[in-house]
Symmetry: C2
Subunit: 154 residues, 2 copies
């Protein structure tokens, strides 16, 4: 379960680009392809690597209207919380949902086509969920930075 420097560098490379050949990773790490192959399989087996995915260009697929929405529930019973979280899970427009400390209860990251689509999402989907007290939306003017790579090597 312990990660040495080779594992960390390998994970870093896989986070940047998962489509290289084992030979290429081996070259970058200064190890043999067999060794790197075994390391990748080990990291997958251990669940360090969850899965491999394609990342798309939001603009190119016309889904670049990003909204952060703070949500407060009316009452924080176990039942209300469970219900809200299950409903939010079903909404594909909600890419992230975090239960937060502080003033509001949840922070949602929502991606839709445009403002009109957002209005529809809010009215028909989000605020249709029971027990929501209040919401507060902030719109992304510009996505300055966005990475899926965790900071393994500080």
């Amino acid at each position: 379960m312990m990660l040495d420097i080779h594992d960390l560098k390998l994970l870093q490379l896989l986070q940047q680009n998962a489509k290289r050949t084992t030979k290429e990773y081996a070259h970058r790490l200064g190890l043999s392809t067999t060794a790197v192959y075994e390391r990748i399989k080990k990291l997958e087996r251990q669940g360090m690597v969850l899965h491999y995915v394609a990342l798309l260009d939001k603009k190119k697929v016309a889904l670049d209207f990003v909204v952060f929405c703070h949500v407060r529930l009316t009452r924080h019973t176990q039942a209300n919380i469970g219900y809200f979280e299950r409903e939010v899970m079903k909404l594909p427009e909600v890419m992230e949902c975090h239960h937060l400390s502080g003033d509001y209860d949840y922070l949602l990251k929502i991606v839709v086509r445009d403002m009109e689509a957002y209005r529809h999402f809010m009215v028909a989907k989000l605020t249709a969920i029971e027990h929501i007290g209040s919401t507060q939306s902030s719109f992304t003017i510009k996505e300055v930075k966005h990475t899926t790579a965790l900071p393994l090597l500080p």
Copy 2:
């Protein structure tokens, strides 16, 4: 540049799991492997698919302390904005940075090991950036949902 239903389904599959074989995608779409192969190459050439990456388990790599930090700048000159955004880009702990409408200027998603690491990040890195007026941090108690898959098929 137009996407038909096959393209959308294919992108959806690639967003979920990019390690399947062309034959498998073809089977799921009801198309031939050659056709799907050409479609994938087309989507890559057009830049719809930015890249392929490994997604890691935050917990397993001990980086599951997630903080959302709102940042306000002192003055919103072009120079200040440019400087702040360039500095934030350099920080690996900042996984996302959004220029927002509303009360605060920026929303940052920061991932570190624990509260102590966050304190160090704030003191030594973030607030070391010039022209930051104020910050307000909210800590993630629980990550309810997190996906990288854009909602292509509503």
